[in-house]
Symmetry: C2
Subunit: 251 residues, 2 copies
């Protein structure tokens, strides 16, 4: 049975997160598995590079699955997109080695978090950004974010999905502004549960002047979840890419 990897995008607004739940609430995984199972003689399960929370979006999530399929990958790609709802899309699909694992083989993940800091809420951006109704100082937030780079214990900012290893390596953590749209790009080998939203919520305290950079760094170094500032809401978050040594997507 051939194994496939797929690059997928989804609007997480209507889903209870990526990962299949014991209850029957719709998740991204269960929705794709149902579509796959309609194309196969038996139920199909898939693996993802990592879970995303309820309301979180993706344009670069990676999944894999094995499927008894006798036609081309292109045919499978088309059939799947025709079967999926409009808020999920398979962007690319290719056959891979059966040993490929989207989570364990991932070398780097990149997320983006969007804040809108106009004084009045923006109705067209409400499902894809966090509205903060006072101006944030991105220079201060960037100054604080620099302390996160490198190998650190991130216990202040999240829980490991499994085990008790809180150490992660951060490669990038940077805010850029375009008018009232602030985008935070963060890249790491892997992330703890709620880590990006916890970092964004804490940096927001720096940006609005509630915390100094020193207070942010103190909270970080405390390695204590209770020292986290606030947790930013899910709709501003988007998983933008996952990098593998053995898997490349076309540009």
């Amino acid at each position: 049975m051939p194994t496939y990897a797929a690059l997928i995008a989804y609007d997480g607004t209507e889903y209870h997160g990526f990962q299949r739940q014991v209850e029957s609430q719709p998740t991204v995984q269960s929705t794709i598995e149902e579509s796959l199972s309609r194309l196969a003689p038996q139920p199909v399960t898939l693996l993802g590079s990592g879970r995303t929370d309820s309301g979180v979006h993706a344009v670069g999530q990676v999944i894999s699955f094995s499927l008894a399929w006798r036609h081309s990958s292109e045919d499978l790609h088309r059939a799947l997109n025709a079967n999926l709802p409009e808020d999920i899309a398979i962007l690319q699909l290719k056959q891979v080695s059966s040993s490929f694992h989207p989570r364990f083989d991932a070398q780097r993940r990149a997320y983006e978090y969007t804040v809108y800091d106009g004084s009045i809420r923006h109705p067209l951006k409400r499902q894809f950004s966090w509205h903060v109704n006072r101006k944030l100082d991105e220079a201060k937030m960037n100054q604080a974010a620099k302390y996160l780079l490198g190998v650190h214990n991130f216990a202040t900012f999240g829980q490991p999905p499994q085990g008790s290893n809180f150490v992660r390596e951060l490669f990038m953590a940077e805010w850029t502004r375009s008018d009232c749209d602030l985008t935070f790009r963060i890249e790491a080998n892997a992330f703890l549960y709620r880590m990006v939203r916890s970092i964004v919520g804490s940096l927001k305290l720096v940006g609005e002047g509630t915390w100094s950079t020193e207070e942010f760094v103190e909270a970080f170094k405390a390695q204590n979840r209770h020292e986290c500032g606030t947790v930013a809401p899910p709709q501003g978050l988007c998983l933008v890419s996952v990098t593998y040594k053995t898997l490349n997507w076309s540009a």
Copy 2:
């Protein structure tokens, strides 16, 4: 009773257009009127610069209304936004002359229409763009769009909201591309009903090669609604600004 003008934005996805309907289906107008009426001793009706269709968005719609309000404009602005659902926002509000009419006093309207021409649909853009799954040639579309500039009879592209005058003056009609996102900006003194979506649908035929520029111009000059190409779907359309001689908003 003081008269107010307001600059408003809305995500049209959940509304049956801007204009109040005889039936009880929610429209942008009826939703704002209900919020206003909660702040006033009697029901309030409002005027808009023009109606937008079901599913069409706005970031620059202008409305006016009279209201018995004893506090400041700032207080009214805050109270209204607190009363409105998340998909409608009052961006700015000011007191104006009781003679102000958002439709008759408007000198110019600007719309933007967004097309996404990636080969696979983009789930995060589906409520704000038209997905066309083959590459459009924006240079060709711009060449054809130039013929629309100036004073013309636009009967091919729409119906007047009232009366039988099909003549409008177009000041701008131009496509720009950023990766797979094509934005069409169009400005006129006023628009016919369905005019922007009809022009976009017809220019799309040029962009994909179904129509030559000459065929587009022939259809336009026929002044016949049956010669229109296709009508683009509503979700790509956004009313971005309305210009008045007597009313200016802060930048």
